[in-house]
Symmetry: C2
Subunit: 234 residues, 2 copies
């Protein structure tokens, strides 16, 4: 009666259709075309993507689970605005997880992987040189995700994906633009270590890369929250 198959093969045949609202908004956030706090009305999104509110709703809920959108009952959705606290936590989590994925990737990396990542790095460099800020940031994020993929840890990879996406919002809010050039070099060095199958070096470079980004964030002295009467009187 019940069919206890662990479907893995058939998956590829029936590509689960992705939600266009989710994809579009996620991409826009990655590329910083949607600033934190932007209101996302269901009807409007439905028109934009040519789907009904049913689909919009599903996409928004998905985005909310990924902490990219904040959903409040009866009040609709807006692009999330990670607090300084949340920003710190996201980077602490990345500093815990990604050195591990970098290490594992260094152990497993094949020549083909190395080639692919080198091409990716090149593209990233070009985007930076062309000052295509959005594209550069997105590619930079993808680099971290690719590493987790090479590491072959689907589970950690998903966490990294989420953390990278949230990082785009954090950078939009708290990045103090002193230097930007670091990134590309950092990535190239990490890649070199991985291509040499040097786990220790890859792990350590990844850690300092993340610490470096983290330390570049500047949290405004007072959180961007207006005084809230209610909370002051209770």
């Amino acid at each position: 009666m019940d069919d206890y198959r662990q479907h893995t093969a058939e998956e590829t045949a029936h590509p689960e259709p992705r939600n266009p609202v989710f994809e579009g908004i996620e991409r826009a956030i990655h590329e910083q075309r949607l600033p934190p706090g932007t209101r996302l009305a269901e009807g409007e999104l439905g028109e934009i993507y040519g789907v009904s509110r049913t689909i919009v709703r599903a996409g928004l809920q998905e985005l909310s689970h990924a902490h990219l959108v904040s959903l409040r009952h009866n009040r609709g959705a807006r692009v999330a605005q990670p607090s300084p606290q949340e920003a710190r936590e996201v980077f602490e989590a990345r500093e815990l997880i990604e050195p591990r994925t970098a290490r594992e990737a260094a152990r497993r990396m094949t020549a083909a992987d190395a080639k692919r990542l080198r091409a990716h790095c090149e593209e990233e460099k070009r985007a930076l040189e062309a000052s295509d800020h959005g594209r550069a940031l997105r590619l930079s994020g993808r680099f971290h995700i690719e590493i987790a993929t090479v590491a072959g840890q689907q589970t950690l990879c998903e966490f990294v994906e989420q953390l990278v996406a949230r990082s785009a919002l954090i950078i939009a809010l708290y990045w103090s633009r002193e230097r930007v050039r670091c990134d590309s070099n950092c990535h190239q060095n990490i890649l070199k270590a991985m291509a040499n199958n040097d786990p220790d070096e890859a792990e350590s470079l990844m850690r300092s890369h993340l610490v470096d980004i983290h330390s570049t964030l500047r949290f405004a002295d007072e959180p961007a929250t207006k005084p809230d009467l209610r909370s002051m009187l209770t």
Copy 2:
């Protein structure tokens, strides 16, 4: 016009209403009343919880994001059946993340926290002695989550929550019941280390606790998947 407040205070006033389908099914999975592979038809769930399919659908999607339910296009939902590979990954992730939360919890633990956790441990022991398997497993999972909460890392805590929930399915599929008694003692030892504010000890105990559980899993030599003609012929 736009209101850029980072809502944190008002949240408590308007408690976001939780989805009853999500809550019910998650709990049932935690307590192993729903075996992996169980079919979850939308209409049926709607009747059970007295809501329309709209709500059921939202709940199932949420569960699917948490990897507790597997959703296939046009074929409905079933309780997920983590593969051996996935099971390994989940525990590897836990072995990476939870020693950190245990360490952090040990640093931050207050007397009140310690008291709360001791009560929790007691309850866990009682459930075990009463052979209330489901309750014991749920409480055991909650212990790990409580630790992440004490560590004050909301972000990592969410990851732990997800991993703990998935672990319930993994245990249902792959647990070789040799000893069960370990758990309660392990938790008490970890708690002791944390109450003594001994981060090194807490971290190390947590790590070996997880490795211990992980090593108790027995993956059937062949995965519980029936031969799939289609995939063999393409």
